[in-house]
Symmetry: D2
Subunit: 470 residues, 4 copies
């Protein structure tokens, strides 16, 4: 150990000398500055500046002429940013200072007035909220697209028989279409969750100033509406202290990721040689130069692997906000990187999942083959005994167990048993039993609301299309 330690020590010491004592303030600048990540809020900040300046002019806090200059300057800056001609530097801490400083450079004294009747506290909260809002809308749209892919696949597999699992053991036959619609429901709830979050974040902090409000006669209703909010936040201290919108966004992102991780797990299982239920699309898996027959489910694994990352971001922000006194504390600067990282990954995962699912090729024969290995209609037999032979449920179960044991010993499927053999186990059975022993009839019989009978799955599909895709 000691040799490497010496090496590293030397390396650090060099940094030390330079970085620490002489350039402490530069080091601190870098530590403190948020420009490296909050420049992503540039367009939100520009919009905000435009709305704020117009309102200041309307309320005669600045002149109409000053406002014109400001609007023009902001447009120039917008173009500079779009054309990659805007200069970023850690000296100017954050995106808001960058834009204000450049504005003053471009238009002179009028630029120094843009910060009238506001503070960085309400400005940051507003611009970030606008960004989060846009991302939530994007996620809602991506969820819809993902539902679209699932519904399309489900519509191809309304009748496709596959084993339904509990405990990863075969429980009952279901249809693949029915299984895929379960995910449509999950992502449907995620969309509702996203819309709820959007509804809740839709109030603007702008005008709360540092924390107390301002003595200028501003119009918060106007700016909030111009920026697409339904109105201003009620309490100025809450406005600058609150990060609930980040909590909501990260909490729902964590839940979406768990849903994605479940379908990813299934695709990984289903494409593994023990199952062989599905062939992964080339685009969303990785081949091996040496084993061309093999395809690694990289996309599904990466999506599954990112679940903890998004949950970690939620936890990060919860821990950060825990125990913070009102109003703004610098700790809260940590909200942005957590959000950006989580949502960049979430958006990617949703896009990749959409394409991956759209292009899956299922192998119904493998699914059916695995069902043959097991006695998946045993429950149907028990239900038959209850329904047709009036045997109490628990007793029916025990008779069924005996029949399955018998069939297994003879190495026969249930439908291949003879009536005599069945009668030798229980006298009350009659010929109609054979109607429930086949996998197909089992499926057809599951006609309770939400059940797997193909007729119902078809109906559920129409309903889902109408509810989620129109």
């Amino acid at each position: 150990m000691s040799k490497e330690k010496d090496k590293v020590t030397k390396k650090i010491s060099k940094i030390w000398g330079g970085r620490f004592y002489k350039n402490a303030s530069k080091m601190m600048n870098n530590f403190n500055a948020s420009i490296k990540f909050d420049k992503r809020l540039c367009f939100q900040d520009l919009e905000l500046n435009k709305a704020h300046s117009s309102m200041l002019a309307d309320k005669k806090i600045i002149t109409s002429n000053e406002n014109k200059k400001i609007q023009k300057g902001l447009k120039l800056i917008e173009n500079e940013i779009k054309n990659d001609k805007f200069t970023f530097s850690n000296q100017l801490e954050d995106i808001h200072m960058h834009i204000e400083a450049r504005l003053t450079e471009l238009i002179g004294d009028a630029g120094k007035k843009i910060h009238t009747a506001r503070s960085r506290n309400d400005q940051v909260a507003t611009a970030f909220k606008m960004f989060v809002k846009e991302q939530l809308i994007e996620v809602e749209i991506l969820l819809k697209q993902l539902q679209g892919s699932l519904i399309k696949q489900a519509s191809l597999h309304v009748q496709t028989i596959m084993p339904g699992f509990t405990h990863l053991q075969i429980a009952q036959p279901i249809t693949l279409g029915h299984h895929l619609l379960a995910y449509v429901e999950m992502f449907g709830r995620d969309r509702e969750r996203t819309l709820d979050a959007l509804k809740r974040l839709n109030k603007s902090p702008l005008g709360a100033a540092a924390l107390a409000g301002t003595s200028f006669p501003i119009d918060r209703v106007k700016t909030s509406q111009k920026l697409g909010f339904s109105g201003p936040m009620e309490n100025s201290i809450d406005a600058v202290s609150d990060r609930d919108f980040v909590f909501d966004a990260l909490s729902l992102a964590s839940i979406i990721m768990v849903h994605l991780s479940r379908i990813s797990e299934e695709l990984i299982l289903w494409s593994s040689p023990g199952f062989g239920f599905v062939e992964l699309p080339e685009t969303y898996s990785t081949g091996s130069s040496i084993m061309p027959q093999k395809r690694n489910p990289d996309a599904a694994e990466l999506i599954r692997g990112k679940t903890g990352r998004v949950a970690g971001a939620f936890l990060n922000v919860l821990t950060m906000m825990k125990g913070l006194p009102l109003a703004y504390s610098k700790d809260m600067q940590e909200d942005k990187e957590a959000f950006f990282d989580a949502y960049d990954n979430l958006v990617n995962c949703l896009m990749i999942a959409e394409g991956l699912i759209r292009e899956l090729k299922f192998r119904p024969e493998s699914m059916k083959k695995m069902l043959g290995l097991d006695y998946a209609t045993a429950t149907d037999l028990a239900d038959y005994l209850v329904r047709e032979c009036n045997i109490p449920f628990r007793e029916a179960h025990s008779i069924t167990g005996k029949i399955v044991k018998f069939a297994k010993k003879k190495n026969l499927s249930l439908e291949k048993l003879k009536l005599d053999e069945l009668l030798s186990i229980d006298k009350r059975i009659n010929n109609s039993v054979f109607k429930v022993l086949s996998v197909e009839n089992s499926l057809k019989s599951k006609k309770s609301f939400g059940g797997t009978s193909p007729v119902l799955v078809k109906r559920a599909l129409s309903k889902a299309k109408k509810k989620w895709l129109s």
Copy 2:
């Protein structure tokens, strides 16, 4: 180390012999059984059984007579439980088996029919969902009570001046009432979050059976409505695989706890000798026999200290569900203890917080005294320079900085400076400046929507009362 290790080894070995090889199945029984915690679902399971049995009779799946016996049996069990006469045992794994087994004991064969057309998978999901729902309703009510305490305190302190902090440094004067109303907003959002979660969980899994639905002609709409749901879940596989309702409940609980941790932190700070802003009620703090003047903020500390516990429960369930293939897996049994622990603590924290806040005695004189230490109206001076002297914002800031420095050197508050002295720093200042330099005038001037001006705080208070307490 080795001596203790020997001691423990001996202890373990004794357990080993007994516990491991001989009683492995008993050990496994205990590990597997959920009865030790899911007995809390007993009343939900009884209700569920009643509704299920009535529906079975309505649909002629059982006879009306059987149903009567079942209803009677269930009532007997209910009484046994209420009178502590019901026997629990790890042999019968969970509460659902307990009730069914006891029913059969009490009423004979009819009892064996209660499990017709359902499975433990949909039964567990339904009973637990009913429980979660009730807890969410309780939390919403407790949040309202907490808002009530805050609003009551706020109404006593509409005019009470206190320092408003950012970075735990004094920023501007605010009123205590205004500060407390910020929390009313937070807990208001929490109530909305709770109502959203309630809306989203309001569909019943009952009738999904193991995962595929059932061949019995059941009526899921009827049972769902009888149990207070708005209808049945759409997809039977989703119905038994889904734990989104637990995610929603734990996510919102985590957010509430963060809000509670912030007000707790403030009460701990405010009751510490450096602040002295508040006297904690005797009931909610702990005295010292030796220092009767001292009161430890135990209630606030415990609330703050439980934040991570609730967040940990959310994380627990997220991690548990991550990557689970559909449909039910035994892992999901872990959802209940996580929820129970989180909500028991959340409910306690909300009740304690309500009482603690209701009985606080604030010390306005200490608040005002601390304001005197600082130059909290500096921003008002800068705004004055902008508003009245037409000085651009950034320039006004720099002039204000000079004035504060000057005052500090003279050890005077801003309002004690003379006009001459001010003019020596900037000629554009005039006599009207003195209107903005006092803390009282600063407060009054903050008349932007949501601001701290006592007039607005009074108005906000009425609005809050109407919105949240009626």
Copy 3:
């Protein structure tokens, strides 16, 4: 919704009236009291009291006679607790107050002296540390037992061929024994982690008093040694503020749980019908009355499902300690329940895993059958081309790809190809190639240190036995 809400409101209101206003202090007592969980520290506290009292007598702080009385009283209490005759009550907050109060009841005035020269702060930290230490020792022993089960199974399967997976796709043949030894390494690191934690916690807080030390001439070295510590903690403020030992314990518990979750996942997969690699022991799985052939991997699922619970406990305590000023804060009371819950579950999981693994019955034929489905020796072919035919690695890969494609088209395994056919793809191949194409030869060839060749696995097994089990 509204009807249920009314119902719950009524229920709460009833509680309200009673619980809130009248019994606030009782409610707070219950919230504050730790006796409901810290009574588990009773034996640690008794030991601590004995050691402290003896030292006080040695140092003449109390008389030898008082010490005798105290020792006798403590023994009486020990018996009362062991015989379930000790009364617990929320009135007396914690276990330490219970024991002290009972001591005074039993022996009179001498009991009032036991708390001389210490405080609850150092007492709690010490008793809890003793408890954590014992649990760590237990976990280390359980890990060893678990390694024992794995090594025993590995020794039965040194030669058992199974597919080695990456991405859950078949990569190369390995032996089951080799695979199981990978887990022996993991749990070996966990044992080292546990020993490191034990080493680090092995200093006693006792004598730090409230935070500053004491003016009594106590002997901290003596008490620390009597309690099995290597010595006293260096700094009295650190001694009462520190919960690093809980961090260490929960962090290593989280890592162990992840290891357990991986082997659990494999057992769930391997016992699923797609794999069929293993038969789960009856004791550690659950049968179905209706499908006797089926066995649900409940034990493995529950272990996997508890991973997040333990990680959640670590997170809980990290969040709780975050930002706490020195020295003791009441928040820290939350450390105990988190630890108890995590370690109760960890200990159970380790015991269950040990038994589960010990009694597994593997099915080598299923493992070998799955290997036949794939071209698992393709890498061997490529390595052969490099080694024997001097073809650069990347080129060898591409040739191998062609051969596998060819074989797949012909639906043949690699060893069934003819030399002619191979030569038609690359001239440099010769007859010796057939030595590397069989699964058995592939295995044998992996003789690099740590490789899967049965010879090496046998050697690794001896080494593991010696290193971990002696």
Copy 4:
């Protein structure tokens, strides 16, 4: 809402058309590629390649001439990277492919041989482990520097009296030096934790190949030692499946961050106007143009605010690894970004904390003043009653309570009370009591090992210097 939604929809749709259907494979490439972050492993990969190639030549697997070419090529690449002339592209997935591809470009066929007898699985694990190791060494060194700053400050304040807090209430007088040494202990444990992690990770995965080992006669001992490891990992499957070294690194990072968050919290409190115990250095705080007297504790707040971020990374990786079957899965690619982000932040926080603490200016007068507000020597009085007047501890407490109450009513400090007054409360008190009532004497009396008496603090300081800084 709907207007913005439309806007965003339009934006997304544009992306959709282009990004999804046409460029799906590009999108997937970006999702899959790790080069954007794993290029940080370039120097580790180069070192690894050098060692591997030399070993291959030593073992005659490649020729000595080929090795020479490879070594030369690797040096060229090293220079290209150092001079920013190396081209990175998502097409070549990761840093390992980049280096290998460039090597072949530079030196031809010999380059194609570098990947002989290894796989990306062992290569990634090894290079990453080397990187983690270096970072752990750096952290250990930074912890030492931080201890250095604390010890330096402590040495200036051996005698500085300050209030010791529990529950953020004043408990007893302590010295500032004593308080700071508590942190030296915490960071000392962190150093030990880091060294333990270094010890545990010090085995090389290289040579495990894909998972099974290799048929080439490689020398794993040699490469492992060349790369600074103590030897090769024992089991090839474990070698590529294991990420325990990341767990260890992130767990200890989380614990360090909690320690840093505690001292940050104290600095934030101490620099707030209610305390005024410390003046923050200009470099590590942010002034306000408008309130020059104010300094925001930005550095301390940011450090505190990053605690959850690092804990989130640990949780992320735990969740990611949970339930992964052996051996390598693509999910594991997520380990790197989590680690990089956590350690970049940890290293920054340690550096900033070191400088911040080094340059603090404490204000002893404010500390002493706050002590005067309270009855911090009450415990000393109680101990006196026990020690000198032979009053049992619990009784002494109650007498002290009466005296404090009396003094408070008279608004006097304890030392200002007259003997008469004391005697009126308890007859057993005598004149010697006044020796224990002053803060100075209280401090002096705390002579138990580890206590706050200045004599002991001085001794502890020497010990700490010797133990931690030499």
